[in-house]
C-alpha cells in the first residue's frame, strides 16, 4: 500500500529503474559500462535533449506542449552559423541573434495560443514546419568552419565532463529550484490543474502561457547553439524528431498530457533513462532498430503501470 504510493511518485520509481539498469549493466558488462568515458558519453548524448526537455516540462505542467522545439534547434544553429560564415559576424553577436530569433518564435507561439486561442498542438505543429523551412533556407546543405571561440562553447571540457553536460546541470538545477520554490513557477501547476479556477484566483493565465512558450523556445535555441558548436556544423536536419523524443522523456519523467503534474528533475531522469537504454543496446550490440521498439514498449509499460498503481491505491 505505502509502496504503491511511493512508486507512483515518478521521480522515485524512475530513479529506482535507472539504478537497477546500472547495476545490471555493471554486472553484465563491467569493463564497457562502468567507465568514466562511457558515462561522460551518455551524459553528453542526453544533454541537448534534456535542456529542451526542461522547457517542455514547464509547458506540460501547464497542460500544453510545443512541437516546434526540434525545428528551433536547427534554426538557432543555422542562424548563428549563417551570420558567422556568410557575414563574418562576431560569434557573440551571432549567438545573441540566434537567441533573439528563438525568443521571437516562442513569442509568436505564445501570442497565437494564449491570445488568438489556437490549440497548442496545431499552432506548434504549424510552427514546426515554418521554422524547419527557415532553417533549411539558412543552412542549406550545412555550414562548417566556425570560429574557434564558437566551437569552444560546446567542445571544451571541465572536470572530465563536456561543456554541454555542464550547461545541462546548471539549467536543470536552476529550473528545479525555480519550479519548486518560486511562486511564479508554481502558478503553472495551478494553470495545468484548472485554468478557469486559476484565472478566477487572479493568475494571469494568458501571460503565463506566453512566458512558457518563450522559455521553451529559448531553451531550444540554447540547445541548438550547443549542438552546432559541438558538431562544428549547422545542419538543417538537426533536431529532427527531437520533439517527440523530448515529450517521451518528459512523460516518462512524470508529466501528464492534461497538466498539473511533473517535476523538472523528472525531465532529466526521463532523458537519462532513455539514454541508458540506448547505451545498453549499443554495448549489447543489439540492432539500432530495436531501440525505438523498446522505448515505445517502455512508455506504454510506464504509463500503464501508473494507472494500475492508481487503481490499487483507490481500491
Amino acid at each position: 500500500m505505502q509502496l504503491s504510493k511511493y512508486l507512483r511518485e515518478r521521480v522515485v520509481s524512475l530513479s529506482a529503474a535507472i539504478l537497477l539498469l546500472c547495476i545490471i549493466m555493471t554486472i553484465v558488462y563491467p569493463s564497457q559500462f562502468a567507465t568514466v568515458e562511457n558515462f561522460s558519453q551518455v551524459l553528453l548524448n542526453l544533454s541537448i535533449d534534456t535542456i529542451v526537455a526542461v522547457g517542455m516540462m514547464v509547458l506540460m505542467i501547464a497542460g500544453m506542449f510545443d512541437l516546434s522545439v526540434g525545428s528551433v534547434v536547427a534554426f538557432a544553429g543555422g542562424l548563428a552559423g549563417y551570420l558567422m560564415y556568410y557575414h563574418d559576424v562576431n560569434f557573440l553577436l551571432a549567438i545573441m541573434a540566434a537567441i533573439a530569433g528563438s525568443l521571437l518564435i516562442g513569442l509568436a507561439n505564445g501570442l497565437l495560443i494564449a491570445k488568438a486561442g489556437i490549440n497548442p498542438m496545431i499552432q506548434t505543429l504549424a510552427m514546426m514546419g515554418i521554422v524547419r523551412g527557415l532553417a533549411l533556407m539558412l543552412s542549406g546543405a550545412g555550414i562548417q568552419n566556425f570560429p574557434y571561440e564558437f566551437i569552444y562553447i560546446g567542445q571544451s571540457k571541465l572536470l572530465g565532463l563536456q561543456a554541454p553536460v555542464w550547461y545541462m546541470i546548471v539549467i536543470v538545477g536552476l529550473f528545479s529550484f525555480l519550479a519548486a520554490k518560486t511562486k511564479f513557477f508554481r502558478r503553472y501547476y495551478f494553470i495545468g490543474g484548472n485554468e478557469r479556477a486559476s484565472k478566477l484566483s487572479g493568475i494571469r493565465v494568458e501571460k503565463m502561457k506566453i512566458y512558457a512558450f518563450i522559455l521553451s523556445a529559448l531553451l531550444a535555441g540554447i540547445a541548438g547553439i550547443l549542438l552546432s558548436s559541438r558538431l562544428g556544423a549547422a545542419l538543417s536536419t538537426s533536431g529532427r524528431g527531437m520533439e517527440l523524443r523530448v515529450i517521451t522523456a518528459v512523460i516518462l519523467g512524470g508529466a501528464s498530457l492534461s497538466g498539473g503534474y511533473g517535476k523538472i528533475v523528472g525531465a532529466f531522469l526521463g532523458a537519462l533513462f532513455m539514454a541508458l537504454i540506448n547505451n545498453m543496446l549499443i554495448i549489447g550490440r543489439v540492432s539500432g532498430y530495436w531501440q525505438e521498439i523498446i522505448l515505445g514498449i517502455i512508455l506504454i509499460v510506464a504509463v500503464g503501470l501508473d494507472q494500475w498503481l492508481l487503481r490499487r491505491i483507490e481500491k
Binding site: Y189, A197, L200
Partner: protein, 486 residues
C-alpha cells in the same frame, strides 16, 4: 421489491458504509438523506454496479442478484441520474438520450428521422416541450441539461430510478415538471430513489425518507408525518440551532455600482455598505453571475462605474480586483474554484497574491489553521481536494479567499450541494466576516438562505434590478414575484 441487505464498504482509512439494509417498493418515492460524506452516493454506486460492496448483497424480488457493472444494472431495470453530467456537448439532445439502441434503417445505419421522432415523443410525454431533439446540448442552459439527463434515464424505461440531487441546478418551474414526472412514474409502478438535501422537496414528493449518517443507517420514516427538525437532527446527529438574522451593517459605503451595463445585464446600480450582506436574487439566466463576474474583472463591462472606497476602479482581470481587496467564490466549485488534483494546502494559497519564494512549511501551517478554523474534515492538508465531500470542498474555497484578507466578498451560491451541517458552518463564517466590517454580495437561488442572511435583497430579472427590498419587508412571495417579472 429491490433490497439491499447488510451492505458494508470500506475505503482506505474510512468505513463508508456500515451494515446498511434498505428496501425499495414499486410505486414508492423513497428519499435518501444525509450530509455530504454520509455514504448516499456510495450506496447508489453499489446499487448500479459502479462499486462492489465488501459485504452484503442485493436482492430483486427476493432473488439474490450480482450487479457487476452498470450495464447489468440496466438489465435489471435500474437507472441512475448522476449529480455529475454524462452528456456530450457537441451532440444533439436525441443522440444524447439514445447513446445506444438507436433505431436503425434497413442498411443497419442510424435512422435519424425515427430517432428524432421517438425523442420528440419522449419529450412530449415528459412535458419538456421547450426542448427540441435536434438542439445541440452545448446550446442548453444547465437546468435544461439536467432535464435531458433525466429524459435519458427515463428512455431506458426503468423500473427503479435513482435521482441524485436532481434539483440542484434546475429552476422552480422545471422542478414542478420533474415532480409531475415522478408522480406519473409512481402511478406506473416505478420506484424512485430520491437523494436530496432539500427538506421542502422531500416533504412534497417522498413517501418514505431514510437517513444515513457517517455510513450508518439512522432509520426510515414516513415523509409526510415526520417533522423536518427530526429529520435534520437525525442527519447531523445534533440539534442545529436555527440561526437568527443579525445585522452588522455600517453606514460607510464599501462598494458602489453605478449604471453598470454589459453582456447579460444593464443599468445596474446599488450600494454595498461595510459589514453588509446584500443578497442578489433572480432566476438562472437573470444576469446575476454575469454581473458578479464583471465586477470581479473577469468579463468586461461597457458602461457605468464601479466605485470602491470612493475611488472609481477599472478592473481588466480578476488579479486587479484581488489586489483591490475583492474575493469571488464561484457557483461551480469544481469547474471554477478548485484544483481537484491538488492538495488542500495548495488550494488555500492559490489566490494569495505574492512574488518570491514559495514556503512549503508556511503554506502548510496557514492551511492547517484554516482547516481547524473552518473544521474542514480531512486527515491532513496534503490530502487531495478531490477526496473531500462537497461541503468540505466549499470550505476549502472559502478558506482560499479568507486567506487573501479581502474586504469585499462576492459569493455565488455558497451552499450549492452542501449538507445542512456544513451550511450552518458556512453561514456562521459569513457572519464573522461582516462582524469584522467586511462586505458580502451574496448571490443565491435559495430564498431561505437569502432571507436569513441578507440585510437587503436586490432582485434581478432579465438583466435588470427590479427592486431592492429591506430585510424586514422581504419574503419568499414578493421576491419570487419580482424575480419572475411580475
Amino acid at each position: 421489491m429491490l433490497q439491499l441487505k447488510n451492505i458494508s464498504k470500506s475505503f482506505p482509512g474510512v468505513k463508508a458504509l456500515h451494515d446498511i439494509s434498505l428496501e425499495f417498493k414499486p410505486g414508492e418515492v423513497h428519499a435518501l438523506c444525509g450530509e455530504n460524506g454520509a455514504g448516499k452516493t456510495t450506496l447508489m454506486n453499489i446499487l448500479v454496479g459502479n462499486i462492489q460492496p465488501d459485504e452484503g448483497s442485493i436482492f430483486l424480488s427476493n432473488k439474490k442478484i450480482g450487479v457487476e457493472n452498470i450495464q447489468v444494472a440496466q438489465g435489471f431495470g435500474i437507472s441512475i441520474v448522476y449529480q455529475e453530467r454524462s452528456l456530450v456537448d457537441s451532440l444533439t439532445v436525441a443522440e444524447n438520450i439514445y447513446p445506444v439502441n438507436q433505431p436503425l434503417n434497413r442498411f443497419g445505419l442510424i435512422n435519424y428521422r425515427q430517432l428524432y421522432k421517438q425523442t420528440q415523443a419522449l419529450l412530449d410525454e415528459l412535458q419538456l416541450t421547450h426542448l427540441s431533439p435536434v438542439t445541440k446540448v452545448e446550446d442548453l442552459s444547465s437546468s435544461q441539461k439536467q432535464m435531458v439527463e433525466i429524459a435519458k434515464a427515463l428512455a431506458q424505461d426503468p423500473s427503479w430510478l435513482i435521482l441524485d440531487e436532481p434539483t440542484a441546478s434546475i429552476t422552480n418551474k422545471e422542478t414542478e415538471i420533474l415532480f409531475s414526472i415522478i408522480r406519473k412514474l409512481k402511478a406506473k409502478g416505478v420506484a424512485v430513489i430520491y437523494i436530496s438535501h432539500r427538506m421542502a422537496e422531500i416533504k412534497t414528493i417522498a413517501d418514505i425518507v431514510s437517513i444515513l449518517k457517517d455510513g450508518i443507517f439512522q432509520g426510515s420514516y414516513d415523509a409526510a408525518s415526520t417533522p423536518v427538525d427530526i429529520i435534520i437532527a437525525k442527519m447531523v446527529g445534533r440539534d442545529l440551532q436555527q440561526a437568527a438574522y443579525i445585522s452588522h451593517k455600517q453606514k460607510e459605503v464599501a462598494l458602489e455600482v453605478k449604471n453598470l451595463s454589459g453582456k447579460g445585464f444593464s443599468d445596474i446600480s446599488f450600494v454595498l455598505h461595510k459589514g453588509e450582506i446584500l443578497g442578489i436574487a433572480g432566476l438562472q439566466g437573470s444576469g446575476r453571475t454575469e454581473l458578479a463576474l464583471a465586477i470581479f474583472g473577469d468579463i468586461p463591462f461597457q458602461n457605468g462605474k464601479i466605485i470602491e472606497d470612493g475611488i472609481s476602479i477599472h478592473p481588466k482581470h480578476p488579479a486587479d480586483c484581488i489586489n483591490l481587496g475583492m474575493a469571488y467564490i464561484p457557483e461551480d466549485r469544481k469547474a471554477q474554484g478548485l484544483f481537484m488534483e491538488q492538495a488542500i494546502s495548495d488550494n488555500i494559497i492559490a489566490a494569495h497574491p505574492g512574488k518570491g519564494l514559495y514556503n512549503r512549511r508556511e503554506s502548510h501551517a496557514v492551511s492547517e489553521s484554516y482547516r481547524v478554523k473552518l473544521s474542514i474534515r480531512a486527515t491532513h492538508v496534503q490530502q487531495k481536494v478531490q477526496k473531500l465531500s462537497g461541503g468540505n470542498q466549499q470550505k476549502v474555497v472559502l478558506a482560499k479567499w479568507l486567506h487573501t484578507e479581502a474586504d469585499i466578498f462576492i459569493i455565488n451560491e455558497p451552499t450549492h450541494g452542501v449538507d445542512v451541517g456544513a451550511k450552518a458552518e458556512i453561514y456562521s463564517e459569513l457572519r464573522k466576516l461582516t462582524a469584522e466590517g467586511k462586505s458580502i454580495l451574496l448571490i443565491s437561488s435559495e430564498l431561505p438562505e437569502l432571507l436569513l442572511l441578507s440585510d437587503r435583497i436586490a432582485v434581478m430579472y432579465k438583466g435588470n434590478i427590479q427592486g431592492i427590498i429591506e430585510h424586514d419587508n422581504a419574503n419568499e412571495e414578493n421576491i419570487t414575484a419580482m424575480a419572475s417579472g411580475m
